[in-house]
């Protein structure tokens, strides 16, 4: 049986794994290769390595550490950060990455998804989506449909956000999440990582409602991201949102959840995992 995947996400800067400390630089957690191997030993099914400064420094991923990780690691890994062209993606894959994940650049130029899928195959193309539920004011033309209190109706829905890595640049991308998910799939994405921003970093559980809505639209793998805080959260995201994988960062880095214990508990809860 196909196992559900547990995917630690590592933020990498200059070959080191770092933990963001708001606005005051980054604390180094360890060497990227060492940390990747540690998670491999603990039973991680896949890793995401995110070059956190690539986008803001206007460059692409540093292929040197991609190659170092590929040389050492014997589980799959995905590389994210600043990939803006099919050529850059192919360089990453040729350096040994199994997949590349694109987020803001795909919103800037959606054809990037098609180009990547054509050059490397859909199975290498992950589209990351930062999404949150919010109310947008309705256009003036429909404002007269106001509710009982005379307040203008709002468009409450899930909306895609862009440049979420940078607090000064983050903005709403002007797209409904459910539309963008389908478009990304149609353009050739092989997997969607849905980062539910309402839940991100608060460790109160994945956004099951949003994930379920997206899952119901998809026949490609969906990975949940944002909100993991306990084993129970992983159980419910697999049981209730039926995702292929669950991604998390801080609970693993801060050793709140130990992957071997998590996998044992998941198996006890009847969820197929690789032990």
């Amino acid at each position: 049986m196909l196992a559900r995947r547990i995917i630690p996400c590592l933020d990498v800067k200059d070959g080191k794994v770092v933990k963001g400390v708001q606005f005051v630089g980054h604390e180094v957690l360890g060497d990227a290769v060492d940390m990747a191997l540690r998670y491999r030993d603990e039973g991680a099914d896949e890793l995401v390595l995110y070059d956190i400064t690539a986008s803001s420094e206007g460059r692409t991923v540093d292929y040197n550490w991609v190659r170092d990780i590929a040389r050492a690691l014997d589980i799959p890994f995905c590389v994210a950060g600043g990939i803006r062209s099919a050529e850059q993606a192919v360089k990453c894959l040729n350096s040994g990455a199994d997949k590349v994940s694109i987020n803001s650049p795909a919103l800037e130029r959606p054809d990037l998804i098609n180009e990547l899928a054509e050059m490397a195959g859909s199975q290498c193309v992950v589209v990351g989506i930062d999404s949150r539920e919010m109310a947008l004011p309705l256009p003036k033309s429909v404002e007269h449909f106001s509710d009982k209190e005379g307040q203008p109706s709002k468009n409450v829905d899930y909306y895609v956000h862009q440049y979420s890595g940078d607090p000064d640049k983050i903005r709403q991308a002007g797209r409904r999440t459910l539309d963008w998910v389908v478009e990304a799939r149609d353009r050739g994405a092989g997997e969607i990582v849905l980062n539910c921003m309402n839940q991100d970093g608060v460790r109160k559980g994945y956004d099951l409602k949003q994930l379920r809505l997206v899952r119901d639209l998809l026949d490609i793998p969906l990975v949940a991201s944002g909100g993991a805080g306990s084993t129970e959260h992983f159980v419910e995201v697999f049981d209730q949102a039926d995702v292929s994988g669950a991604l998390a960062a801080s609970v693993f880095h801060k050793k709140i959840i130990h992957i071997p214990d998590l996998k044992r508990d998941l198996r006890q809860a009847g969820i197929a995992v690789r032990l």
Partner: protein, 195 residues
Amino acid sequence: MITVIELGCANTASVLFALERLGVDAHLSSDAAEIAAAQKVVLPGVGAAGFAMNRIHELGLFDVIRGLDVPLLGVCLGQQLLFEGSDEGDVQCLGLIPGRVTRMEASKDFVVPHMGWNQLEVSRDDALTAGVNDGDYAYFVHSFVCPVNDCTLATATYGEPFAAMVRKGQVWGCQFHPERSSSTGARILENFVKL
């Protein structure tokens, strides 16, 4: 010395690195004469069957690969290329293993690509499957599948069973990525090295 065929598809580096981890002398080549003289050959591949077969023809490798009398291991798309043909681009493949590669039908319950760790069921004993047990996990990423037949060494099931490992004579194949399948994958590559 193992020669890894470089078709210009992505991912050949990972196979080379995995062999390096085993302490094996391996190198990349797309040169017909070099491949014809190789002691052992790996045919990796990620991407589309049509693109890969075109490259094989352009590089003059079609008859070279078909004529090899040393162990050959096809990995992922490389295994699919060993079959007679593929529905992916309706392309004629190498014809070293009987049968045709077909598309996995995506559904809500069985999302495609089939991506992740799935379990192997060993169909028969073979040098390549030595030490591999039923239920061992391997890492798969693919949207097309190879049929189960007399050449099947191991199956995996995703909706339907399909050929996860194959063998005919000196030709072997893995649908999964041994270079990304942790200790099980390393064992299989080591078995290939020892052939």
